[in-house]
Symmetry: C2
Subunit: 620 residues, 2 copies
């Protein structure tokens, strides 16, 4: 059999054959790998066979074509089905199919964008749908494009709140270019899901969020076909809740518990039961031609601040964002309902069409950013630094997706003052440094912030900026240059006995401490380590050589922040210069910023005292 | 006016007076602080006045009484209302009320358990309801207790997916002891919410999740009273969606945008408009007497493994959990639908009554654990280490709550093999070290795992254990002792030239590397740094003194893990011994564990090579 199915020739018989082939290929690739999730793909084979043969519009020879539909496997573990579809569509051959999960193969255990047809890595459940919301937002709000965004969801992942953030946001935004196909196969990894085949509960919830909903038998080809047609015709996002059987088509595993994430025990028997190996091709419809995208950006003057002017870096972030929004029409901004605190509202005021209010849903915000960048947009997403911790898994997966994701967390550290510890980011440097290939910036003044926001725009990858709530004096002129990986030495002389290394609010405390120390006859070097990752190791090592002691000061827990960054530099170089790390070590409360900085031992007075202690002979 | 309201004397007139007093006191405390969220409390004043006067059962003089109801302010920023309630109930006096947000005051910007009537810190929105689910689960499933769990939720926070994880879980569990009161005041921080006063959408969704739902006017005292009565009578969790006006009662701010998180501009005028300062007391009903809790634990034999026996530490975790469940009837376990991978299922098999299947909802899982520990349970919550990143904000807030929270993340690092990077925890050490007061353990063999799981049981605070997917040889006898903060030196001699420091899978690679090095005439010390936080600095410093070079090896990103922990110890001591850090530095793919360890440069061969290089003279 060497048939090719097209939209026109897709008879029910041929579609059924195609679906069986997809099952067979899922069984084969998993058997070859000795691991994988064939049964989780077999349940959705009928759904995807109809999609590929009759509804998807995608040119597999030109994945860069922006008119292509998008297809996100939110249930990423159904990768054996996805790869079987790629084979049927002629994107990969049978030989490559059987490299599934091999070292070096593009066909990884869960899909990643190493495959040109995969937009984003999935495999952490509950992420594909919210990311698809971002893709659909790009099409609907920014591009007026005709592509559709299809998402294959699992039923187990409907327990993730992030899925309901997505339902809610897509419904609110009226994203009629988004179709969620939920493969309700009743069985999770270790047993039945909460609702099993009771699709009514989910359908009611999605409908309440403003979705067009359908409940169908996911093995009934005619019902599937009709459901897609209705979904495409809907004036709102559409969800198809399809009741299916896990492992459908193979009696040894069909609707049986205990077969999650395992190759079949007898693949040959399964293949025989499924009717044997086939090589049916599918001619997926190409997308219609598309108008070239025209976007224009209203120029905004570059913000500059005068030396000594007191400005919060969060304010400079907002100003800079508005400015680069004018420089670069690809810049978009998202905020989680705190734009008047992060100052993302200043971007919104200048570029309302490219601003996305994501409400208090940080996971959906970061996911939407990941979705937007799949279409070449440069998303800046902001909220309080503390609340970005809510989206940490999405940032982690963004790095797996090699996403171009720019994040800003405001209100960091105890220096926010009276709002108290729930609002203080004290772990954000550690968390975001521990993201593959990330950049972590912590500007100390407004002009520097502007430069670094533009550096984030130009940098491709995951970058994070932490900004300060309080207004602090402007230290640098508007034309001083700052780069990712750099640092700035603010005070230095041949007499320096000690080096103070800080960034953000504690840099200002360090400068004050250096003044105090000078009064006591101690010369202190002060380094602004605004690029925490990558770090300017050279500046640290020169200071370690030229001064007797280093003091790091940070409004952050001691773990994974500036102190450990510097410590690793020193230890790797075998420097014997002693490091003192000042950081927040006890649970802060509410109070004025100055009182909290003092209580944490990171204000000028404590820094000066630590420097004095560090210069005393050991044991003194 | 110095009246005291009781359940019997709570006329509508008096309740209205009480509600006005609560508003006045919210205005007063915020005015005194110069910051705070009075308007967010004023909207809910009528709701809470009726609750305190007529429905809450709580002995404010005995917050430790386990028969008391629970009241969680999920909208923690409404703290001025909460503290006004405490004043009315006689728990605090007017003088303390006016210390709101002062340095050292218990009345922080957002509530924390520094106040004895506060169970958990809130202020990161979307957490109070899922935590309350844990409290209610304790009452319903573990204690057969009569207390009720009341939660005041905001409408803005209904955008958080975690809220819907909670609705879903509570509905599934049929928690009739849980009542959510949603203060639908229409306005978020920077403008209208998605649904404003359209409570029908939320009510439909909650009803679909199995809740009893009501939509009322939240300023109609009779309607509020009737709603509470109906909610208490329901055989399921009850949600009251109450339409209110933000800043209700003061014309200058009522239902006005732009007054979030700000004291009123003219507090005196507001107080006058509200009818002036009052000192009405509320006699909150005490709880009924309660039967003492009887729980019995079925003893389970302590697991032991033979030297050399190949066992995965995740398996030993499951065995140990089952064992300590027999030792200590307060131990409970939760898992996010992967208990057959984390091996929490072994606890479930022995102690089914104390096991909670949380489905794929990591935020709800950690939140439930935080809720359970408020009633003295010792929760162990497990999933893949990578997916605990989903709940990072809940862990962060758990530390603010001073919660007794035990976490286990399995399937860490590239050594999981073919499932690929989405499933690999490579940032978990960094993330969990950067939690206030946390303990981070990374056992290297099965017998050690058992000891450390029991150490976690005995430790109060946030602790995290990372476990390995692969079976590795048992290194230690069952009676060797391991403690939090310890380490174990596995190979040591006076001839040692280099020290290899590792834990978990890389400890085994380090032992193999030491063998290889011995063959080349290089003696290597090997340290098992199983307690990554707190770290055994002494062992590190002795090795730095006695050997020429240190090599850390970890199946984790380089940031915030074992390498930086050791680096900080060396730098703080001013040790000049050079450190080499081996860690995962590039995006892994799928493949056999050995291939991935080799590709990451953290297998025995690469460790031995790094040791050789480290022993060459600098510049050679």
């Amino acid at each position: 059999m060497n048939q090719v199915i097209t939209e026109q020739t897709a008879t029910p018989e041929l579609l059924r054959e195609l679906a069986q082939q997809l099952r067979v290929d899922a069984v084969r690739s998993s058997a070859a790998a000795g691991s994988g999730h064939p049964t989780s793909g077999m349940s959705a084979a009928d759904l995807m066979a109809v999609l590929f043969a009759r509804y998807l519009r995608y040119d597999f020879s030109a994945p860069e074509n922006t008119a292509n539909d998008h297809l996100v496997f939110s249930k990423g573990h159904a990768s054996p089905l996805l790869y079987a579809l790629y084979k049927a569509a002629g994107a990969i051959d049978d030989e490559e199919l059987l490299t599934f999960r091999e070292f070096g193969s593009r066909l990884q255990g869960h899909p990643t964008p190493e495959l040109p047809w995969v937009d984003v890595a999935t495999g952490s459940l509950g992420q594909g749908l919210p990311i698809a919301v971002g893709i659909a937002l790009a099409g609907a709000r920014l591009e007026s494009a005709d592509f559709r965004t299809w998402v294959l969801c699992g039923d187990s992942e409907l327990a993730e709140g992030s899925m309901w953030e997505a339902f809610e946001h897509a419904g609110h935004a009226g994203l009629s270019n988004l179709i969620a196909v939920v493969d309700v196969n009743r069985l999770g990894q270790r047993g039945p899901t909460m609702h099993e085949w009771d699709t009514a509960s989910w359908a009611a919830r999605a409908a309440a969020s403003g979705w067009d909903v359908q409940e169908i038998d996911g093995h009934d080809l005619a019902a599937i076909d009709a459901a897609y047609a209705k979904a495409l015709a809907a004036d709102r996002p559409a969800a198809i809740f399809a009741r299916t059987k896990k492992g459908a088509g193979v009696s040894a595993v069909e609707d049986q518990d205990g077969w999650h994430g395992k190759p079949l025990a007898d693949p040959d028997a399964a293949i025989e039961e499924l009717g044997g190996i086939r090589s049916i091709g599918v001619t997926v419809q190409p997308p219609p031609p598309q108008q070239p995208l025209k976007i224009e950006a209203e120029p905004v003057e570059r913000p500059t601040y005068e030396l000594g002017e007191k400005v919060a870096t969060r304010g400079a972030y907002g100003d800079a964002l508005a400015w680069i929004g004018g420089l670069d029409e690809r810049v978009v901004a998202l905020d989680a309902e705190v734009g008047n605190s992060t100052y993302a509202e200043r971007f919104a005021a200048k570029h309302p069409d490219r601003f996305f209010e994501m409400f208090i849903a940080e996971q959906q915000m970061v996911a939407a950013a990941v979705g937007l960048q799949t279409r070449g947009w440069k998303p800046f997403a902001s909220t309080f630094g503390a609340f970005l911790s809510r989206a940490y898994d999405f940032v982690r997966m963004g790095a797996v997706s090699d996403a171009d994701l720019k994040l800003c967390g405001s209100h960091v550290g105890v220096s926010i003052g009276p709002d108290g510890p729930s609002q203080m980011a004290l772990e954000d440097i550690a968390a975001f440094r521990a993201v593959l290939g990330s950049v972590v910036l912590y500007p100390s003044d407004a002009n520097q912030t502007v430069q670094l926001v533009d550096a984030m725009r130009q940098h491709r990858g995951v970058s994070y900026m932490r900004t300060t709530r309080a207004a602090t004096p402007t230290l640098y002129g508007p034309d001083e240059e700052f780069r990712i990986g750099g640092s700035r030495t603010l005070r230095a002389s041949d007499e320096d006995a000690v080096t103070l290394i800080a960034a953000g609010i504690t840099l200002h405390e360090s400068l004050a401490a250096a003044e105090q120390l000078a009064g006591q006859g101690i010369s202190a070097r002060v380094i602004d380590l605004y690029s925490v990752k990558p770090v300017d190791a050279e500046a640290v090592l020169v200071a370690a050589k030229e001064t007797q002691a280093l003091i790091t000061v940070e409004d952050h827990w001691p773990e994974g922040g500036i102190g450990e960054t510097v410590g690793a530099v020193l230890a790797e170089a075998g420097s014997g210069t002693r490091l003192t790390r000042l950081a927040v070590t006890e649970r802060p409360g509410s109070g004025p910023p100055e009182a909290l900085l003092a209580a944490a031992g990171i204000d000028a007075e404590h820094i000066a005292a630590a420097a004095e202690r560090a210069l005393q002979p050991v044991g003194a």
